[in-house]
Symmetry: C2
Subunit: 207 residues, 2 copies
């Protein structure tokens, strides 16, 4: 369309599309940085230095440090749904689905987009002693994924391929093995950690 | 002793004893604060505000932020040896020792001295993407405890009370269940988490 002929509504739409794309681009960069430095330490000033944008420009997009951090959790959760939740829930229920769940989850923490590992599990330990809206948003995210694991477990159970854990225990075991491989891989630089977590998950959860 | 009669060596000793006690007292306070706020974010300035001491006074004791954070890991590790490692290694090897290991470790994370939970596992996720001497000191500490779990496992193995995991798998499983209950308890406020971790450890590790 030739801009001279666009209506003011169309012009407004074009501007807000552009603003949304800019916002998405900033949040994608912020998510990478948070993989190394954490979510709770991200400030508008810090993001300004990292992106070369002005602080005032970033305030227009986010309004406050808390709003920025919450938008960041939204962005990371959206990526997680695309890379892990979606593909897993597209599979038939049962043992193979539960194994693929752990495989994709671990792969998520090893992605080149996350040079310092999974931002969500890191933020868990960063924010758990604090109060506030960012902590609450994160807890909602962790709770949702634990709930999804319980659903996968309960749906797979009637096939008789899973061990005698209840869904809550299965979610705790899965979270634990994920956390252990994260510690071993990123702090202790043990490259065998992901394979060990998969073996333990298979042995303790799936027949 | 009447001070007028003490030798200069004795006076020096008295001053350095006093300095050591002051340093210990500061580090005990710093360890409590780190349970909520983390180890990697602690600065000499922040500690000055928290203790009411002068920044220059704290510089005399620690010299730099990194030296302070390393001294803090030393202090926390010493507490961990006293509350967990010592009592566990005083027991005869076997299943009961491995169960008590997990029980004392979880109790450590729930102590009133640690209002925001275990400083060491939190620092793991805080520092794992970074370089430097504090990260290396922490990795040494985590590695030592994983090594201790492997020793407990190998010593208990001949009694036939433990499941068919190798020592490395047992250490990963133990770390994972510890991390899971920490996430559930401190982020999700689930008070049933410690008991679930104990049950999972018993079911997956001990016959």
């Amino acid at each position: 369309m030739i801009r001279a002929f666009e209506t003011s509504k169309q012009a407004h739409q074009r501007h807000s599309d552009k603003a949304a794309r800019t916002r998405d681009r900033i949040l994608t960069l912020a998510a990478q940085a948070a993989s190394v430095n954490g979510i709770g330490t991200l400030t508008i000033g810090g993001l300004a230095s990292a992106t070369g944008m002005s602080k005032s420009g970033l305030y227009v997009h986010f309004g406050s440090k808390e709003a920025l951090q919450i938008a960041l959790v939204d962005t990371i959760e959206k990526q997680f749904r695309k890379e892990v939740v979606g593909p897993v829930f597209a599979m038939p229920s049962g043992k193979d689905q539960l194994l693929e769940m752990m495989r994709l989850w671990i792969a998520w923490s090893q992605s080149p987009d996350r040079p310092g590992g999974c931002q969500l599990i890191a933020a868990t330990f960063e924010l758990d002693g604090l109060d506030g809206s960012v902590r609450d948003r994160l807890a909602k995210s962790i709770d949702a994924w634990r709930g999804a694991i319980r659903v996968l477990w309960n749906n797979g159970k009637p096939k008789g391929e899973l061990r005698g854990l209840d869904a809550e225990q299965a979610a705790s075991l899965a979270y634990g093995l994920y956390a252990a491989q994260h510690i071993e891989r990123f702090l202790l630089h043990d490259q065998t950690a992901p394979e060990r977590a998969m073996k333990l998950w298979k042995a303790a959860a799936c027949r």
